[in-house]
């Protein structure tokens, strides 16, 4: 009978150990992919789009973001696990001859930001992919309308 209790006690330990590498992957993603811009929620791109990005880190939207191969492989595992299921993949995303995918070309992104394009001129914003400029909980992966505070302090009112 006692072996049952031991097995039960080990469940949280095993559970923790099983998720520890996933937590490491997420932490690496935030560290390596969140220095120059927000570490975009991996679900913003499909797995195929992520593959393109991570295969071309040396030409990362105008910068050289290349990484050691072991880290790149860890990030590939992370985005494959957390990418979107592909319903809204950009046309040409799987074609290496096409430019890298851009959030600003995603129909859902364009739709959500259709009323705020002018804010790109604001010096604190600069680009619509500077999520944290208005999305006060972007770093936690939350983009709810009620959390939006525009530059100057005004809350978003639709």
């Amino acid at each position: 009978m006692r072996s049952w209790w031991i097995a039960l006690a080990l469940v949280p330990v095993v559970g923790w150990a099983a998720t520890a590498p996933q937590a490491d992957e997420a932490a690496l993603y935030r560290e390596e992919c969140g220095s120059c811009h927000l570490a975009f929620p991996a679900g913003f791109l499909t797995a195929a789009e992520w593959q393109r990005v991570l295969d071309r880190l040396d030409r990362h939207y105008g910068s050289d973001a290349s990484l050691e191969e072991t880290k790149r492989q860890t990030l590939l595992a992370y985005v494959r696990r957390t990418a979107s299921n592909g319903a809204e993949e950009l046309p040409g995303a799987r074609n290496p001859a096409e430019p890298l995918p851009r959030l600003t070309h995603k129909p859902w992104f364009i739709h959500e930001h259709r009323k705020v394009a002018a804010f790109q001129q604001h010096p604190e914003v600069r680009t619509l992919v500077n999520c944290a400029a208005c999305h006060t909980r972007a770093a936690e992966g939350s983009f709810r309308e009620r959390e939006i505070v525009l530059p100057g302090g005004r809350r978003w009112e639709d």
Binding site: H37, L38, S63, D64, E124, V125, R126, T127, N130
Partner: protein
């Protein structure tokens, strides 16, 4: 009256907290630079001139200041993405220069983009000397 070498001044500071790591890195780069240039001593003035120099290599990243602003004790902002950047001076942000691998990574990336080449050990030493001179 001659001024004591900056290194001696820095070594006289209490070696506590993260400032010690920045000072250790400074010593390391200074030693490396001395191998290429005997008698090398880090200079905060040279570091400041380097920090403010407009290299004209990258269309937006004209200098360190493009992202880190004219005052490295103040928060910066990425010139392209707009993302907020913590102050570069260790006196304003304690973890700066505490991780040698991270420091080397960012010297490699930023020097390549802004300066158009890798920075020398002497330039890195001067740079850290300048940042350490920005008292908090």
């Amino acid at each position: 009256m001659s001024r004591p070498p900056l290194l001696l001044l820095l070594l006289s500071l209490p070696l506590t907290g993260q400032a010690a790591s920045a000072a250790e890195l400074l010593t390391r780069y200074q030693q490396e630079a001395s191998q290429e240039q005997s008698g090398f001593a880090p200079s905060a003035e040279r570091g400041q001139a380097f920090y403010r120099h407009r290299f004209g290599v990258h269309p937006q990243m004209h200098s360190c200041m493009a992202c880190h602003t004219e005052e490295p004790t103040k928060p910066g902002r990425h010139v392209i993405t707009g993302k907020a950047i913590a102050p570069l001076a260790p006196t304003a942000h304690a973890e700066r220069f505490s991780d040698p691998a991270k420091v080397e990574k960012w010297f490699r990336r930023n020097c390549t983009e802004v300066v158009g080449r890798l920075c020398s050990a002497a330039e890195k030493a001067d740079f850290i000397a300048f940042l350490l001179s920005k008292g908090g």
